[in-house]
Symmetry: C2
Subunit: 362 residues, 2 copies
Amino acid sequence: MSLPTRFDWVLLQEFCANVFKKAGLKKQNAELVADSLIQADLRGVDSHGVVRTSIYLKRIEEGMINPAADIEVEKESDSTALVNGNNQIGSVVGVNALKVALKKAKENGVALVGVKNSNHFGTGAYYLLKAIEQNMILLVMSNASQTMPPTGGVRPFLGTNPLAVGVPAGDAVPYILDMATSLVARGKIIVASQKGEEIPLGWAIDKDGNPTTNAEAALEGSVLPVGGPKGYAISMFIDILSGVLTGAGFGKYVNNMYENWEQPQNVGHFFIAIDINKFIPIELFKQRMDQYISEIKAEPKAPNVDEILIPGEIEHRRVIYKKANGIELPSKVVKELQEIAQKYGLDLSQAIFNQKNKEVTK
Amino acid sequence: MSLPTRFDWVLLQEFCANVFKKAGLKKQNAELVADSLIQADLRGVDSHGVVRTSIYLKRIEEGMINPAADIEVEKESDSTALVNGNNQIGSVVGVNALKVALKKAKENGVALVGVKNSNHFGTGAYYLLKAIEQNMILLVMSNASQTMPPTGGVRPFLGTNPLAVGVPAGDAVPYILDMATSLVARGKIIVASQKGEEIPLGWAIDKDGNPTTNAEAALEGSVLPVGGPKGYAISMFIDILSGVLTGAGFGKYVNNMYENWEQPQNVGHFFIAIDINKFIPIELFKQRMDQYISEIKAEPKAPNVDEILIPGEIEHRRVIYKKANGIELPSKVVKELQEIAQKYGLDLSQAIFNQKNKEVTK
């Protein structure tokens, strides 16, 4: 029997936490991974939400992730640290590295934390929000397995290495940038292919390196970096900081989560945390941010534009909406979660969204 | 009588240094500004080369730049500093801020230096090369006066705020990214307009916010950020770090160097310097960089591509070529420099490139 597809965010998070406990994670880490996935769904970044549960579990089962690993600080100074993720789930590694960064930044004004031996760490925004809560500016980068060619290349060499930056504001919604360094997500090309539609020139190249508008040919080829050589260069320095500098994989040595079942991913991350008070007082900074944001939003709008948005503003609204109205999941994902529930003797149906649940979680 | 247009880089730099001494800069600062301009010309970034001499002089003459100002560290901790440029020429401010950053990074592993009350600081690459000489990774950002609308906006609000990142390598050419956050430089649109050519859709919008292929209409409108909302967001966080966080101008409060003759520019910059040894030993890092770069360059090439290039590689070659063969300047720029020479009783003709000069400067 197939379940409804709308879920209460609190109860779905509890369900996911229970799943990861059954899979061998400590309670605290299981809850952290579940929180990370649900935050992505709430923000509408569905590709990084509970849809990832099955692949994370599969990599644990196949010995590609170590759910019992402890995260170690391998080398440190007052304002820097090199963290060894010891092949734990990426979001557990990421949050532990972030804690080190925020503590050092509080004590010394700034912290740079490099991370090696990690895995896919979810959305960058997840870490940004935690830093913003503590009045910190945070930059987060991660490398990823190969999907984009260098400018002039034919086949994937670089990942769509994400860049994320979070900045607190006063009354305004905080600034949250969380972007891949590709022009568009590969997912958009998959959708075009399924619909039999063409894609705009510039999104992708075919397997021989020719620009293509054919979605099928694009999927056999590579997605392209945002802004051509600019995106290539940005993706590359993210790989340098996350991979070359930390001792993690870089370029072709970051293994594909879906395809490589011989070795851990060896993803690298890089965190830069900034204590605002070291420059100007936090209250003054927040006033200036509010002024800046309100001035941008008050700019005259182009034809057919209703509102000028700040990075992260749409996602902020989605969170409010989905907390009140439930998280809608594709039926394929619900089916996967049902199978997982069955395997571990858990009950997914308890997390279905209804008015009663809604009141429970108020 | 009009002069030839090819100049010896060393002699032209001496000429420029003499010009800035005459304009009221201390010897050391005059030489620094000249060095910064010539480096840009050598790298082929002509828009930031000696062409800027006349506007810098004009702003000094009009009291918009203070050529006698000292740069002050207003606030500092072990790994952070807030620098007040006191409205000195931007490259003098920038180099002084960089010195603070490199010293702190050497002592404490990392340094974040914010700068306020500065002016146009030349190319980011100029600072990167100095950091690379000292085996440091450097990130440099600066805000700039308004040229790009936010996504959905109609008129300029953000600058094409540059992002620059430099990374040392071993035998390979170092990685040097120095990019504006616009899709293309406004200069390309000026050229299209002069030739009566159309520009590709996506480069710019007209003054009402409509996408345009008409170069004239584009010049009355705005250039667009690279990658749409991604470039908008990157430009914005550069403005936040350089301007909102430092107390410099931000958004509309960064004054236009060419148009505003009432107030200093109040440009802000932000430097992040990283001591590689705090993560992995510098020699190992350089080996990894060389491997990374050689693997990228060995990738299969797209049709009609001769070589896969690393960010900064073309500019590196140009420097070698122009040091040997002279710097070619537009006749308009030569004329401006001649007028400046006349005014200050200097002799530009001594800097003309010829075989004899070439041997002198070997």
